[in-house]
Symmetry: C4
Subunit: 232 residues, 4 copies
């Protein structure tokens, strides 16, 4: 028994969703779950296969990425999670994957254009692709800097992490987040679907236009606005 059992359980369950949703090969992904009151988060141990995971194997880390509890080494991406939790206070869970289509857009270093309502149901803007990091950032504290690369991208573009819950890191892969770990996983699956459809859309029509502004607003508001009428 530990005071962290609830976030270990949450992190475990959210991690196990990744292979079910087809978002990871082997161990190429990780989810974390935060407890804001305790100032720590639970994250997948590094390199452990999903079939061998259990809630007890989750590692507890604080927002400076210092180990707090657990026998295993935490995910190699732990510092990126820590930075985002520290600075973006509304986040309850973070997901990192190398899902096929989202990663291809990251490798291509392009934002994912907003082509339809599937995208607009979740975002009012193109999915941002942060530029590849500078050599200084890479050779420095790499995973720590990855968090700042993401935040800088949002700052420069004037994006709000509470409205846009996904990003591509150029040359690398996607990160998503949400109020809960489950919502963050949901966003990873949505991003992969959007990424797939956007590629197909350009293949069908090279000149496909971005979604018109009226539809962007309408679809986002019916799911997320003050008068939203989607869901229960």
């Amino acid at each position: 028994m530990s005071q962290y059992d609830h976030i270990k359980q949450q992190a475990y369950e959210a991690n196990m969703q990744l292979p079910k949703l087809g978002l990871v090969l082997f161990t190429f992904g990780n989810v974390s779950a935060v407890d804001r009151g305790l100032g720590v988060f639970a994250i997948k141990p590094s390199g452990v296969p999903y079939e061998e995971l259990s809630p007890g194997k989750m590692v507890i880390v604080d927002f400076d990425a210092r180990a707090v509890e657990g026998n295993l080494r935490p995910s190699s991406d732990t510092k990126t999670h820590a930075v985002l939790y520290k600075h973006w206070e509304g986040i309850g869970g973070i997901v990192h994957t190398h899902s096929t289509y989202a990663t291809a857009w990251a490798q291509a270093q392009r934002d994912i254009p907003i082509f339809g309502t599937t995208h607009a149901d979740h975002n009012t803007v193109d999915v941002p692709c942060a530029p590849p990091m500078s050599d200084e950032m890479i050779s420095g504290d790499y995973e720590h800097e990855t968090g700042f690369q993401i935040m800088n991208c949002f700052k420069e573009r004037g994006l709000d992490y509470k409205e846009v819950e996904m990003v591509l890191v150029g040359n690398h892969a996607p990160f998503t987040w949400g109020k809960t770990p489950g919502k963050a996983v949901y966003n990873s699956a949505v991003l992969e679907s959007i990424a797939h459809m956007a590629l197909l859309t350009e293949q069908i029509n090279m000149a496909a236009p971005r979604l018109k502004e009226a539809l962007i607003k309408k679809h986002y508001q019916r799911k997320h606005g003050p008068d939203s009428y989607y869901g229960q």
Copy 2:
């Protein structure tokens, strides 16, 4: 027990086909089943995961989209279903999905060309893509207007909804229908397959010609004509 149990059961069973056929991610789809005598239809509740659905959770709505029975809020696309049931009297079921390939064609704002007999077995024409809606329609009663956008597209092109049971709504996604909810689901799966094959066909041969008229007629008639000889 309710006088609507039969359409709740039908709607439930048809909705559960969508994830099995790979046509939906999470809750991005809905099916309805009509009772013409009672003037109502049963439809999926909004935002409820498929694994939590049951016949009793289906919502009963009339053709003006007024709630008749049920504790949950109906699908946010309910008004589109209502409009189509009201004006197209031969329809017994309606399906809306964001299936990957059909949605990509909708986002690309292109009709799906009739390239082969798989298509001709079900339609004698390209799958129509209704243009994106006007800003007035979008900011007005959006889902209600979506129904009219579909009907207007059929009117302008001289299409008969009894022969062509599928449409793409530009920038949005597909709708299909049929004499029964099961047939409407079948049409959604066929549309997704046709959409996939048409994209591949253009990738293999940019100058691939539309199917010749004689084959279009032959294949459609052997399945649907007065002397049809497909099926039992």
Copy 3:
């Protein structure tokens, strides 16, 4: 009990492989199994879902496509099977599907180029695509003529049906065959894989060359030549 039970069983088992191998949606495919001594073949009934099939539902037909035994109507493609059995005496089984990639090549009206050893392990030539049929053939005895369209294509190109066990019918879809129904199904799956890889090959390198002659011969002979050393 019937003297045809053995081919009903064979046809049933081979048909059930199609959905397992991902080669059919709904009922868009059929397999037949021949008994040369009795001069008949067993074939899937038309439009019956795979989950409802049983050996007893297979229909027995002779080489002029006349019904011999069975309560159900045979596949609408039965006449094509009959023609091929009648004229190509070495065939033990025939398969017709609308599998995604092979059908896309048929719709694009292109032969599938021999790009690699996966192809050469099974064929020494491009997979032939018979041209779309003439209007006369289509408006005549369509499925009967489809068989002749296939045979004419082989005649004109000097191909031997015992060496090349697959064909695309332009605008339509693939047919495969083999010494046994199981081999014919195997060929359908191989064709689908070859069709997928060939499309990808051209996407990766628009100028990808055909396989060199020495490799074509080597790979075919190691599987099929007099000194073959593949398998047991």
Copy 4:
């Protein structure tokens, strides 16, 4: 009981991973497991379906490809395995597949460019594509020469087989290896994923640049360098 039981078991288990990972159709793949002390390896029998495999059916062969134990004929690719084991002493297992995307790159005769960190986590260079073999090599001892074609490619490019554990053989298909059979299988799955993403990357951005040098080094070192911090 045999002194080779341990490598038969290893080879069996590794072979059974191939269909689970979606890397083989029918019998188009094989894995071997070596015992350096005994100077032999266990390999899949030729043409035997995966569902019929058992540890006892594995064939024991020495580094000159001479049969040592087993009732079945070994894989037709056995000589390629033997050559690689003989000359590359650090290898514990070898895998050959015709997996879809990797084979497409081999058919296109192109190296797979290093576009992102998924690739860099495993390799610091493009995945090499050995040129198609000369007619002399093909008509000679083909599978034996395939091993030399792979080694020559590494020699000419100055690659170390301990760092780059995968290769495409032009016009043919991929081979991978590793310290253990399990690692070799892992590499086959990683290669297929990299191959898929690289194709998509070029489709999204024809001018996508190779990964910058600093990221290549960083990602490889965090998994494989002396100060690696990935895994347990």
